[in-house]
Point group: D2
């Protein structure tokens, strides 16, 4: 059994890692850390994980953890992750970082958006952006994975085929995303209280959300020329899921079968991306609890726009599930191991 540690395991992504890894046949969780919950069991904090009565949160002491695991998942706050990643990475461990600290390749862009310097540029240069649909081979041989953000996963998966085929005016892409409340994490915050979120809906971080440079970085990498997008995240009064509606002005006229073929063909061997048939639209309820991404493509001939809609579960394909997918690749396991659960509907 491969020994796995989860640093920062008391948030929703940490709990979701435990849930997913609990049914993974090749893995054993040997340590979870949490400063706030140190000394308490996982079962105590999360009653749905009541089987984990003997898995006790411990404070994050790097040296003490080192020999406990072969693979380290880090679900720490942005900024705090840098140093821990660097330590385990330098100790030749496999590291999968769910924070944003190693996602932006350019440390100056990181500093601009996260308002803190990047102190481990050498390590950063060795990180692989963990979107298997883009970087599967690099992930296989990587030691450090920067696990993608939830919004970027939904946006990038929706855009790769169209960008690869040079179909879009890359200066006018609009990504309008809607996320369930778990995306904000587990915290005592009035703005996230049930009465404030339930039956409501609002945008936030308009024009300023930190996932934008991450999306732009990857779209630019795909295109080879700079892509700038309009990106607006919104808060849905539900637990899980991200739906992104992506407006792409087309460079030439297309017919539906053509664009559908491009998308279906691109994703035909991907185990977790499913392109819907003509006329169908995805509901984020259909991927709840699963690692799947569903995508629809629709042409608006009146404005010559391609409208892509993608849905994921932000805690699974948008975080912990994708992290396990990356782990499988890094370890040479079957990529889908422990990840083929069907979404919970209704």
């Amino acid at each position: 059994m491969i020994r796995v540690a989860i640093c920062g395991g008391s948030g929703y992504t940490g709990a979701e890692l435990i849930r997913i890894l609990a049914s993974h046949p090749e893995v054993q969780i040997t340590a979870v850390t949490s400063e706030q919950s140190a000394g308490r069991s996982v079962a105590d904090i999360y009653p749905h994980l009541f089987k984990f009565k003997d898995l006790i949160y411990e404070p994050l002491k790097k040296e003490a953890l080192l020999d406990k695991a072969d693979v380290f998942f880090l679900a720490l706050p942005h900024g705090a992750s840098q140093e821990v990643v660097a330590y385990f990475y330098n100790q030749q461990k496999k590291v999968i970082d769910l924070s944003a600290d190693f996602r932006l390749r350019d440390p100056l862009v990181y500093e601009q958006w996260y308002k803190t310097p990047h102190k481990h540029r050498e390590v950063l240069s060795n990180a692989v952006y963990g979107l298997p649909e883009l970087y599967r081979d690099e992930i296989r041989s990587a030691s450090l994975i920067a696990n993608p953000g939830c919004y970027p996963t939904s946006a990038i998966l929706g855009l790769i085929p169209a960008l690869r085929h040079n179909l879009i005016n890359t200066e006018a892409i609009v990504v309008d995303s809607k996320s369930g409340a778990s995306g904000a994490g587990r915290k005592a915050d009035i703005a996230l209280a049930c009465c404030e979120v339930n039956e409501g809906f609002r945008a936030y971080g308009v024009a300023t959300h930190r996932h934008r440079p991450e999306i732009e970085q990857e779209l630019t990498a795909i295109c080879g020329s700079e892509v700038r997008i309009s990106f607006t995240p919104h808060l849905l009064p539900i637990d899980r899921g991200i739906l992104s509606t992506i407006y792409c002005p087309l460079l030439r006229e297309l017919k539906t079968p053509e664009i559908l073929n491009i998308y279906k063909d691109f994703y035909k061997n991907e185990p977790f991306v499913y392109v819907l048939d003509e006329g169908l639209l995805p509901d984020l309820k259909d991927v709840r609890g699963s690692n799947f991404c569903m995508i629809s493509v629709t042409l608006d001939h009146r404005t010559n726009t391609l409208i892509v809609i993608s849905v994921i579960d932000n805690l699974v394909k948008g975080a912990s599930g994708q992290a396990v997918q990356n782990m499988n690749l890094m370890l040479g396991l079957k990529e889908t191991m422990g990840l083929m659960h069907i979404g919970l509907f209704p």
Copy 2:
């Protein structure tokens, strides 16, 4: 007291008209019609309207209704409304039609989108589009009001000031709208069942929704040249509210105080439109149950885009409240009479 009849009063917009008119000091509801619920009381169908035990739904017989009321609200299905509107209009009654039958000025556009011919073109030519913020004077002297659709109300109110000032590239506007489930009406439909909608989120009618030509008609009227928009409606797992996120590529660079001034100035005398201060974003929960529209404007300097967000309650400002606002104007009453209720939060 002015006598008011509601034709098609057993749906959500009908019930909402009754709720609003119940506290209107100058109006008395004298008749409500419903084929399906004929013979049953309003209280029977809608327990929250339990005070209306003696208001009995009757079948819609135009001649029998004629003398019962001075003002007729019609909340009938599209297509079915045409003839009833024409009848009451020709009998010199005040008519406020909440269907789409008299919203599109060009009968050919109507036929194209609603798949049925328009048989009352003469009457159509006398209808006034009931958005007071655009057509207040015409409404005052009108006998027939085409009450705007819910999505169009949210989209148009968000765009008027920017269009009037020629700030936007009118060929690339994106309107991404999200509506609560009451927008689909009260019907036995598996797609609207609680288990199908709750905790879910999905787009529908992508590139094909009938509110698009209505929005485009009014934006074109404002601009004087043809406007085509990308418009995508989505279904929120909540009861009420529409939030529209509107992306407007700017023709020139703007500063925030400038755009804020333009919006605040334009709406400064409007009783129901409220422009938020810099940095604030509206939540549709803040207008629930009220006739208010809240609007925020944000500049995305990176892509030189104006992002407007507007929220309304789809059943109030998006339907029945706006209908009462129009009635007040038509009757020479105070425009805000019976409509100043504060939204229900939380």
Copy 3:
């Protein structure tokens, strides 16, 4: 205009008082206090109250407030309310206290359940329990009202007629209550976060909730002999509303028309209590935002049990609406003034 101050006005009951009083024709809010939000406007904290831009929260300084108002609503935490109530009461002001500090007539019971001594027993002896359906005459001449708790309002209103008629075994009443999340107030608390409450349901305070002695006190007062109940509150994943299912073992066999008559007769002149016809059951959605209480009575002949179900909006009839009803009575105004709004459905 009567001048009204709200002490502790930044929670949900405070905001609800502002919402209700905003449409009250005889009242003007002259001061609101909040330590946490001092210096900020009501509009700033609660965007749905955007009209109250000039109403600024101030710290609670009793002497400074004294001349600003004739009526004082206190929505302060339990314990903190005692002294403020006593001050304004002794200064001959009308006081309506929404805390529990003056609800329990016996100061020893208060101390037992609220773990703090009662320091104003003299004042306590002059407080009137503000349930108009029980104490209307006393309220009219009172200077200090202890506004009932939300659960007690729903439970007591469901039981008065049956108790008055000596129909029930008073040693075996079960009150199973379910409340929306606003009952817990507005606070930063992980247990109330959207992701923790949404799509969930749980009991809390089983056998230990502080509203039990309050309910028992009033039931005992009605019966003249001690009543002890089983009471279990639950948290519903919604904003507003309390539904109480009350199981009453009957002392003799009854027929439905008989029990229905008893209830309908008892409440026939009550403006805010509505007894449903045979076969109908109340939904808390039907009273959302209103001051109404709906009650159904059902006989279970198999076990000879009366099952009463009552619904209220916990923030209105269960708190701020009832407080305004009490104010109307104290001031000799029409009891229903400003309170006849219909519930918001859907």
Copy 4:
């Protein structure tokens, strides 16, 4: 691989069977039937089951199905199930019936509550009530399982230990149950529309629900003397889950450790029932999507009442999961096979 057919597979319990069986290592679904959806694929009706593109609903033709499977799950409407069960049973197939047709041992009780005669009394006498915690041995050797109702599962599991120890006055048990909307099935019904259920809460079937005789039958069997309960089901505005609050007047005084021991001891070897430690209360969100039942016991010394709270997922332990648990037992497989998934939280 064991071949399994699902008759009546287009409802929520059918879809849930497919979801669960999809990850069961020893089973293969060879046929699903649905009259309404005949000819369409499972993926077409349920997008979350998109992998089942080639599993096509067929009309229920018993003879055609006979050779296709070894085990038949029947999720047919009450009444319609009788004949199909009898057919497959008489053909020596293993049958698990999720309808109520074979749950009530006394055909007269069945006829009284289901208003239709029981035409297969011989078969009925061979049915085993499929609650493994009560009838594990009988299930192992049974050919026909009457899979318990959702409410009965939650109520009975909460009561067995106390009844076995003769702790309760069996004439005064109150079961107050609350269920998510999926319990009502998948149908086009205005009463189940999102806008009618969302943000609402109501009781239904007070004193008349058909699950009461089923609960009473099993409680009576445990006690050996007739048990009559008060039972009230309620509709929660959520997808999944049943929480039952059970009030049990005690025959003697108990201390918490004593009652806790009795429950913990009784369930110590049960793989799917988990008794919470003192002071903890279950949330139905903690078992969402899982086959677990969580139970808390609390003593109310003031009224000498035991308050048991149990939670299950109505579609899993309350229906399809329990059906698979029964299948495992009937086939001699490990009882927990394919059923150990952790609940989805949040």
